[in-house]
C-alpha cells in the first residue's frame, strides 16, 4: 500500500491526493457522495489519533449500502435519496479505529440487485478499462474506483457474487469472506442469509489487512461466528502439497475462449509451483442460479418492506391520501424496475400455496449445493473456477433480458448459497479485458485461500494477453 503506518501528516496528505484522484475519475460515475471537506476531516482525524492503527492513512471507498453518519446512504435508490444514518456500520467503526480514511460512497445497482451497476437510480458506472462496458455489479462503483487507481481498497457487498464478478470484470482482487466472518450490522439488508461485506484490493496484500480488520464477531449481529480473528496470508514459498479441485460443471464447453485460456494458464502455474490439480464434481451447482433467485428475492421482499414512507426516506402521498396509497405511491415511485421485480418474485414464492413448491424446495437444494462442497473439500484444499463465463460485457447488452443478466453470476452464486469464502484474482487479459480466476476455500479457511492467491498473483502477469 502507498501509506505507511505512523507517518506524521499522512492523513492530510492522503486526503488531498485522494480528493484529486476522485475528481479526476468523475466520468466513471463511480461515486454517489464524497467531498473535500469530509476527506480533510477524515485526514485530520487520522493524524490526531494516538495510535494510528494498522490501516493508518489508507483511503477506503464504501459501497453506498454500508451506513455512515458522515455521508448519506442511498443504496442507489430514489427511495433513500438524502437518507443519512444516525449510526455507523460496525465495519466503518472498525476501519476508522484502524486509522483508515473513509474516502467516498460508491455507486451500485439499486439495493445491490444487479450484475452490471446499470440499475442504479443515479446512473450507470463505467468500466475504467473500457467505458462502453459495464464494471460488473452490484458493487461496480467500488470495483471501478480500485481499478482506476483512485483508492487501493474498497468495500463492496456480496449476496450472490456482487464483489467477485465486478472484480473479475475490472481486473482487481475481490474477496468474499465466509458468512458470519464479518458483521452485517449497518449493511443495508438484501438477502440476509447471503449478504457478506467483501473487499476489493489492487492486490491480495491490499485486501487482506482490510478484511482482517473488519472481521470478527460482533455483539450486534447474531449471525457472526465466534472464531479466532482472521490473520494475514502467509508468504508461501510454493504450492507444494496443495491440491486444487477443478469442478467440471464450472468449465462448460461453451466457456469464453479467453476465459478458458486464462484458466488453463493458471492451472499450469499451480502445477509449476508444486501444487496439484484434480477434476471434481459439484453436480448441484447447476441449480445455484434458480435457487438463488428464489431465496434472495424472498428475503429481499421482507427486508425492503420497511421502505414504506412512514418513518424515513422519500414519502409520496398517493391521490387517495390514505395509508395504502402512501405505501403504493412511495414504493411504486421509489423503487426501480429490477427491485420491484424481485419484491414481486419474493412475495410470490413465500405466498400460501407456493411456499413448498418454491421457497422450501430452494432451501433443500441450497443444502444439497452446500453438501457438494463439503464432500469435495474432503479431497481437495481449494477449488479453482472461472469467476465469470465471459469478460465484461457492453453496457445495455443484457438490460432487457433479466435471465441473461442473472447468468452472469452462474459461477459465483453457489459459494454464496453455501456460505463459503471465495475470491477473484486477475489472471490475464483477453482482447484487453481482464479475466478473473476464482479460488474457493472451505468454511473459515480464508487464510489458506489468500495465501494461495498471493503466490499465484506474484507468479502471474495479469496484464498479459492469453490465448
Amino acid at each position: 500500500m502507498t501509506a505507511t503506518a505512523g507517518q506524521r501528516g499522512i492523513g492530510a496528505t492522503t486526503a488531498r491526493e485522494t480528493a484529486k484522484r476522485l475528481a479526476d475519475a468523475a466520468s466513471l460515475n463511480a461515486t454517489l457522495s464524497w467531498s473535500e471537506e469530509l476527506l480533510d476531516a477524515e485526514g485530520a482525524r487520522v493524524d490526531g489519533m494516538n495510535k494510528p492503527g494498522p490501516l493508518a492513512g489508507i483511503p477506503i471507498a464504501l459501497k453506498d449500502n454500508i451506513v455512515t453518519v458522515e455521508q448519506p446512504t442511498t443504496c442507489g435508490s430514489r427511495i433513500l435519496e438524502g437518507y443519512v444514518s444516525p449510526y455507523n456500520a460496525t465495519v466503518v467503526e472498525r476501519l476508522r479505529a484502524a486509522g483508515a480514511l473513509i474516502a467516498a460512497k460508491t455507486n451500485l445497482d439499486e439495493f445491490a440487485m444487479g450484475s452490471s451497476t446499470e440499475h442504479s437510480a443515479f446512473g450507470r458506472v463505467k468500466n475504467p478499462l473500457d467505458p462502453s462496458r459495464v464494471p460488473g455489479g452490484s458493487s461496480g462503483g467500488s470495483a471501478a474506483l480500485v481499478a482506476a487507481g483512485v483508492v487501493p481498497v474498497a468495500l463492496g457487498s456480496e449476496t450472490g457474487g456482487s464483489v467477485r464478478q465486478p472484480a473479475s470484470f475490472c481486473g482487481v482482487v475481490g474477496v468474499k469472506p465466509s458468512y458470519g466472518r464479518v458483521s452485517r450490522y449497518g449493511l443495508v439488508a438484501f438477502g440476509s442469509s447471503l449478504d457478506c461485506i467483501s473487499v476489493f484490493g489492487r492486490t491480495v496484500d491490499d485486501a487482506a489487512p482490510v478484511l482482517s480488520t473488519i472481521s470478527g464477531p460482533d455483539a450486534l449481529d447474531a449471525t457472526t461466528v465466534a472464531r479466532p480473528p482472521l490473520g494475514l496470508p502467509k508468504a508461501l514459498p510454493n504450492l507444494a502439497g496443495m491440491t486444487f479441485g477443478l469442478p467440471k460443471e464450472y468449465f462448460p464447453p461453451d466457456l469464453d475462449a479467453g476465459v478458458a485460456a486464462a484458466l488453463r494458464r493458471t492451472t499450469e502455474m499451480i502445477k509449476q509451483l508444486g501444487g496439484s490439480v484434480r477434476e471434481v464434481s459439484l453436480p448441484n451447482s447447476v441449480y445455484a442460479v434458480p435457487t438463488y433467485y428464489i431465496i434472495a428475492p424472498a428475503e429481499a421482499a421482507a427486508n425492503l418492506a420497511r421502505y414504506d414512507g412512514v418513518r424515513y426516506g422519500q414519502r409520496r402521498v398517493g391521490p387517495e391520501g390514505d395509508i395504502r396509497a402512501l405505501y403504493r405511491t412511495t414504493r411504486g415511485e421509489g423503487f426501480g424496475e429490477e427491485v420491484r421485480r424481485r419484491i414481486l418474485v419474493g412475495t410470490y414464492v413465500l405466498s400460501a400455496g407456493y411456499y413448498d413448491a418454491y421457497y422450501r424446495k430452494a432451501q433443500r437444494v441450497r443444502a444439497l449445493i452446500a453438501e457438494d462442497f463439503r464432500r469435495v473439500f474432503q479431497d481437495v484444499d481449494l477449488l479453482l473456477t472461472p469467476t465469470t463465463p465471459t469478460p465484461a460485457f457492453k453496457a445495455g447488452e443484457k438490460t432487457e433480458d433479466p435471465v441473461a443478466m442473472y447468468l452472469a453470476d452462474v459461477f459465483v452464486c453457489s459459494m454464496s448459497l453455501a456460505g463459503l469464502p471465495a475470491l477473484s484474482l486477475p489472471v490475464g487479459r483477453s482482447n484487453g479485458l481482464p479475466i478473473g480466476a476464482q479460488i474457493v476455500a472451505p468454511y473459515f479457511e480464508e487464510e489458506r485461500m489468500l495465501s494461495a492467491a498471493r503466490i499465484l498473483e506474484q507468479n502471474t502477469d495479469a496484464l498479459a494477453e492469453v490465448r
Binding site: 444516525p86 447474531a222 420497511r306 424515513y312
Partner: protein, 476 residues
C-alpha cells in the same frame, strides 16, 4: 335448539424484562412517545436484531409453569404485513417451530368444577408500536416505544365451553404467570391482552362451527361480556337461518356489543419464513432443567400443600394462594406460633383488606402471631383484637401487648370493674330483668351484649356471664 359454545383463547403477555426483545431499549410504560427507540426497533436500514436472553428465560419459565414441553431448538420467523406501527414491515415471531408446546392449566370452572385446559403452544415475539389518533388533529401519529417489547403468546386449545369458564381460566393463567415471575399481567398497562375465538354448535354435535375472533377487551370481566355478546350474536344468526362468517370483531365496552372489522383485512397471507437474521434458538436440556428447578411453588401445588399441612379447607387455601405474598405471609404467621385456622381467618380478613389497599403488610407476621396469642390467652377480646390490629398497622414499633395496655384493651374477666358494668346494665334495663326472672332466660345474651357495649369491648365475655348469673340471682 340447544347450542354449545366452544372457546379458545390467545393470550399475549409482556415478559418482565428491563429491555426490549431484540435491542437494548427500556420497556417502561408511559414514557413520552418515541423516546425508547433505537436503530433496531425503528427498523432503520442496516440494523439487526439480537435476542434478549432474559426474555427467553422468562418465556421458558412460563412454558414450564404451564406444563409445556420446551423445545431444544426453536426458530424465529418473520410475519409479513404492512402497518404504520410495524417498523420493519414484518414482526419477528415464531411460527412452525415455537419455543414450547403441549401444556395444560388446571382451574376451577364455574360450570364444570375442576378441569384442565390444553395449552397448544407458547412462543415468543416482539410487540408492534402504537397508533395515536388523538394526538395531532386530523392525523394519525405513531409511537414506537412499545415496538420490540418482548411478548409470549399463549394459545389454548378450544376446550372452554362458556364465557364464564373462559374468564375463570384467564384468572388462573394470570395467577400462574405472576407466580412464576413471567409477567406483570396488567391489562390496564397492556402487559396482558386477550384475543378470543368462539364458535357454536348444536349440543351433542362433534364438528366445530365457524369461529370468529373477538378483540379489544380491557378486563377479564369484559372478556366475559364480549364473549356473551358474540355467542348471542352467533345464536341469533344461526337461528334465523344465516351463516356465521369468519370475521374479527371488536368489543365496545360502552355498548357491550361486538362489531365486525372490515372483512378486507382478513385475507392476510403473512408469508411466514425463518428469520435469516436470527440463528435457530438452541437451549440445552441442562439449562432447561435449571429453569425448571428455579421455578417457585405454583398456585396449584401451594393450595394442595396448605390443605394438607395446615388442615385447611379448599375455600381457605384458594383465598390464601390468590397471590404468592399472601400465602407467604400466612405461613410466616403460623411459623411464628399462631394456630393455622386462626391465622388463615386473619389473613383472609383484615390482612387481605389492608394488602389489597396498600399492596403491603403493615403488621409483621410475628406481631400478628403475638396478637393472635393475646386473643387465645383471653388477654384481649376478639372485638378488641380488630381495633388492636388497626392500631398496630399504624406503626411497627409497639409490641401488641404494650399497645393493648396503652389503649386499655386488656380484657377484664373478674373484679369490681366487671361487677360495676353488670350492675349498671341491670339497673338500666329493669323490664328485661323482670322478664328474665319470669323465665325468659334467652335474655342472657342481651345482657352480655349490653355489658360488652358498656365496657367498650374490654369485658371478657366468658367472665361476664357468671357475674350476671350471680347478680340476677341476688337482686330482688
Amino acid at each position: 335448539m340447544a347450542w354449545e359454545t366452544v372457546i379458545g383463547l390467545e393470550v399475549h403477555v409482556q415478559l418482565r424484562t428491563r429491555t426490549k426483545m431484540f435491542c437494548g431499549n427500556r420497556t417502561t410504560f408511559g414514557d413520552p412517545p418515541n423516546t425508547n427507540v433505537c436503530p433496531v426497533c425503528l427498523g432503520l436500514p442496516g440494523a439487526l436484531p439480537v435476542p434478549n436472553a432474559e426474555a427467553i428465560r422468562l418465556a421458558v419459565r412460563g412454558a414450564i409453569a404451564l406444563g409445556c414441553t420446551v423445545h431444544e431448538t426453536s426458530v424465529f420467523a418473520r410475519k409479513n404485513y404492512f402497518y404504520p406501527d410495524l417498523p420493519k414491515g414484518y414482526q419477528i415471531s415464531q411460527f412452525d417451530r415455537p419455543l414450547a408446546t403441549g401444556g395444560s392449566v388446571t382451574f376451577e370452572s364455574p360450570d364444570r368444577g375442576r378441569m384442565k385446559v390444553g395449552i397448544t403452544r407458547l412462543h415468543v415475539e416482539e410487540d408492534a408500536g402504537k397508533l395515536l389518533h388523538d394526538r395531532v388533529p386530523g392525523k394519525t401519529a405513531v409511537d414506537l416505544n412499545r415496538a420490540g417489547t418482548p411478548l409470549a403468546e399463549i394459545v389454548s386449545e378450544p376446550d372452554l365451553r362458556s364465557p364464564a369458564e373462559a374468564r375463570a381460566y384467564l384468572t388462573t393463567l394470570r395467577q400462574i404467570l405472576i407466580y412464576a415471575g413471567v409477567s406483570d399481567c396488567s391489562m390496564e398497562q397492556g402487559s396482558l391482552r386477550v384475543d378470543a375465538n368462539l364458535s357454536i354448535r348444536p349440543t351433542g354435535v362433534e364438528k366445530l362451527g365457524t369461529k370468529t375472533e373477538v378483540k379489544n377487551m380491557n378486563s377479564f370481566a369484559n372478556v366475559e361480556r364480549a364473549l356473551e355478546a358474540e355467542r348471542e350474536r352467533q345464536v341469533v344468526l344461526v337461528e334465523s337461518g344465516r351463516r356465521v362468517e369468519q370475521v374479527t370483531l371488536l368489543f365496545n365496552a360502552g355498548t357491550g356489543q361486538v362489531k365486525p372489522t372490515r372483512s378486507k383485512e382478513e385475507s392476510h397471507d403473512y408469508r411466514y419464513f425463518p428469520d435469516p437474521d436470527l440463528p435457530p434458538l438452541v437451549l440445552t436440556p441442562k439449562w432447561i432443567a435449571e429453569q425448571r428447578a428455579a421455578l417457585p411453588e405454583l398456585p396449584e401445588a401451594k393450595r394442595e400443600r396448605l390443605e394438607r399441612v395446615y388442615a385447611l379447607s379448599a375455600t381457605d387455601t384458594r383465598a390464601l394462594t390468590a397471590e404468592a405474598p399472601l400465602a407467604r405471609y400466612f405461613e410466616s404467621v403460623v411459623d411464628a406460633g399462631a394456630d393455622p385456622k386462626t391465622a388463615a381467618n386473619w389473613v383472609m380478613g383484615d390482612v387481605m383488606s389492608s394488602y389489597n389497599e396498600s399492596g403491603s403488610f403493615p403488621v409483621s407476621p410475628s406481631r400478628l402471631a403475638a396478637l393472635i396469642g393475646l386473643v387465645r390467652d383471653g388477654v384481649v377480646s376478639h372485638q378488641a383484637a380488630k381495633r388492636l390490629f388497626s392500631e398496630l398497622a399504624k406503626s411497627d414499633e409497639e409490641a401488641p401487648r404494650a399497645a393493648a395496655e396503652r389503649l386499655g384493651l386488656v380484657q377484664v374477666s373478674e373484679g369490681n370493674a366487671l361487677r360495676g358494668w353488670v350492675d349498671e346494665v341491670l339497673a338500666a334495663n329493669p323490664a328485661e330483668v323482670t322478664r328474665f326472672r319470669q323465665g325468659e332466660i334467652k335474655l342472657m345474651s342481651f345482657f352480655v351484649g349490653q355489658v360488652m357495649k358498656k365496657s367498650r369491648g374490654k369485658a371478657d365475655p366468658k367472665g361476664v356471664q357468671p357475674v350476671l348469673q350471680e347478680r340476677l340471682a341476688q337482686v330482688k
